[in-house]
């Protein structure tokens, strides 16, 4: 009976490996084939949202990881990290990276299952964090239990880290409560008195909304509406109508990409023209302009990164992205690349793949820059250990520059490439 079961298990394992090996092969196929036969690859696993609500941005994250793998395997180090030891092709000791990507379908529970699969079945050497605070929040206990140091590039909700003593997962993205930087200050400066904050009922939009709320209170704006909408919402007209009825001069908040498009559409369809519209996530993506066309003019939003920022390797990253995928990069892929760079730096500084604890210690003590942003996390002893403390955010606005619709950085002042156009004119 046992041998029958064992055969069954082996067959199942074989089939599993074959089926999803197809995904892995596509990635490995990029590495030059000659030298690799001898060197055992370093398996790095990632569960990414390839389908579902976060699919579009999850795809960008995957691209960021893939670019990093390509640079490591072909060149030996990622952009801007040429000063580190172990410069030969491969991660260290000439060992190439094998990226194993699984689709968590934008679903936290699938993410948990997949992380378990990566850790215990595929037996990966390292992990790269998933997309979204929701999924990251759910897999956090699994990562902690596995004691594999894992950078989390695309989770901004500080609740994942605050008071939780996370020992194995540093945050790469700036925390969500810092979203939409400067918008409240500028609204106040322009004389606005009322603000409506609407947000999707999911981990990071909630944290972002809390951040905006706190700043609104601090600057003395009157919060006429502070309301969450179900994350499965597809019709924003009712809630935007509420903001309009309460005469909110500033409309802020949102959720993931579909939300920002939906909110703008809704405002347009009921002819609600606040003085300022400021939404998270979607505004920075090219899809925003593609879907809405001229309707995006003068809408503001935030991004952790834009082509043109001054971090080491950032410009080269945009060029590499353009060459491989066409079009400018945006912050999701940059964040993924930057997150992988932290792992790379920690591994190269320790020099031994098996010393996970040492690698983790380095990750928590690094004070450095990646192509993405500044990096420094709360130390291991802190109750907020792992929380990102150095990364900054930018505020963008879509403006007409020489006849073309472009994203312009309007805040903070030292990174700004244009002036804030006020007020929002409507459609």
């Amino acid at each position: 009976m046992n041998s029958k079961k064992r055969k069954e298990i082996n067959r199942r394992e074989f089939l599993k490996k074959t089926a999803t090996g197809a995904a892995g092969i596509a990635v490995i196929g990029m590495a030059p084939r000659f030298a690799w036969a001898q060197k055992k690859p370093v398996k790095i696993g990632a569960s990414i949202s390839l389908t579902g609500k976060y699919a579009r941005t999850g795809e960008e994250q995957k691209r960021g990881y893939e670019l990093w793998v390509a640079h490591i395997n072909n060149v030996g180090y990622s952009l801007g990290k040429g000063h580190l030891p172990h410069k030969e092709p491969g991660l260290i000791h000439g060992r190439p990276v094998e990226l194993i990507v699984l689709d968590d379908r934008s679903d936290p529970t699938t993410g948990v299952r997949l992380f378990n699969e990566l850790i215990y079945n595929r037996k990966v050497d390292f992990l790269l964090g998933p997309y979204s605070s929701s999924v990251s929040n759910a897999v956090a206990p699994v990562i902690e239990e596995s004691k594999i140091p894992t950078p989390i590039p695309m989770a901004s909700s500080p609740k994942i880290w605050k008071g939780k003593h996370r020992q194995w997962m540093p945050q790469i993205q700036p925390p969500a409560n810092l979203r939409l930087p400067g918008i409240v200050k500028m609204a106040k400066e322009k004389g606005n008195k009322t603000i409506a904050i609407i947000y999707s009922d999911a981990a990071f939009p909630r944290a972002a909304a809390e951040g905006v709320k706190e700043r609104a209170e601090r600057y003395g704006l009157d919060i006429v509406l502070y309301e969450a909408y179900p994350k499965t919402l597809t019709d924003w007209i009712p809630i935007v109508t509420k903001a309009k009825d309460r005469k909110a001069e500033v409309l802020a908040g949102g959720g993931y990409l579909p939300d920002s498009i939906g909110i703008v559409k809704a405002a347009k369809s009921i002819n609600y023209v606040p003085s300022i519209i400021s939404l998270v996530v979607g505004v920075a993506l090219p899809d925003f302009k593609d879907s809405l066309g001229n309707a995006v003019l003068n809408i503001t939003g935030d991004a952790d990164w834009e082509p043109g920022v001054e971090y080491p390797g950032a410009k080269e990253y945009n060029d590499a992205y353009k060459k491989r995928y066409g079009g400018d990069a945006e912050y999701h892929s940059a964040g993924a690349y930057g997150g992988a760079q932290i792992l790379e730096e920690a591994i190269k500084r320790v020099g031994n793949l098996k010393e996970r604890k040492a690698i983790r210690d380095v990750m928590y003590s690094l004070d450095t820059l990646t192509i993405f942003n500044g990096y420094k996390v709360m130390p291991l002893e802190s109750p907020d250990s792992g929380l990102q403390a150095a990364a900054k955010r930018l505020l963008l606005q879509w403006q007409r520059v020489r006849g073309e619709l472009k994203k312009v950085v309007i805040y903070p002042p030292d990174a700004a490439t244009g002036k804030f156009i006020y007020p929002f004119q409507g459609w």
Binding site: A228, T234, P238, K242, R246, K268, I270
Partner: protein, 289 residues
Amino acid sequence: MDLLPVIYNALIVGIFIGSLYGLIAVGLSLVYGVMRVVNIAHGEFVMLGAFLTFFGWTLLGINPIISIVIALVVLFFFGAIIHQCLVERVIGKPMLSSLMLTFGISILIWNTAQAIFTTNIKAVSYLGGSVTFLGVNISKSYILGFGIAALLVAALFAFLKFTKWGKAIRATSQNDEVALVCGIDTKKVRTLAFALGAAFAGSAGSVISMTWFIFPQMGFNYLAKAFAIIVLGGLGSIPGALIGSLIYGAAESLTGQLLEARMSQVVPFAILATILVVKPSGLFGVRER
């Protein structure tokens, strides 16, 4: 903030939205009335109509309003095929059979759609503006939805009352055995009813593609609402489905405005539960035959 204008506003908008839900619910109720089948795949017909319109618009440049008619026709035949091949076989069998069969069909359709169309959320940017109606600022696409719903439902009523096949449908709903004895081809009647239900759902989906976002799993959301509506109105009763949908739409809209957006999803269920407790067969439902 004056309460009265807000309530009035919410009520009017709610009725408009409710009419769109009604278009979906009427089809579901018709199917149940004729063959005592609760079609769980009904939501998928909505989804297919929406995607049809989306691809017609983006790939072929077909005016979405024309797509409503296309969706009507395509889903009519699609529904007829589904019925002939699959659903007809569980007629007369215990309820669990038809529930499970239609559930299986539902999964098959949306998962296949997901594999083909990908899950990225899409929309048709067509009717963007708004008009003022009865003193309320309403999105044009809501008006369209109401118009289409009113048109189709009126047509359905006329069909049921005046045409030979319409009367056959009513006869079969009342008592299918007697209808059979009277010489009515009840199998054809059932196929017709199912096809009509699918067509209505498809046309609703078409309007929805202009109003809201579309994605392969959107069907379930509308199915849940349609269920609540037809149980509220009484299974098998088309007037019940209509009145139920207006009540549902109004309730959803009012709670969204007066309480909060998330509560707007709860209250309709609460209403449903209350009415069922008071009148277990719904507002206009009849006792099982």
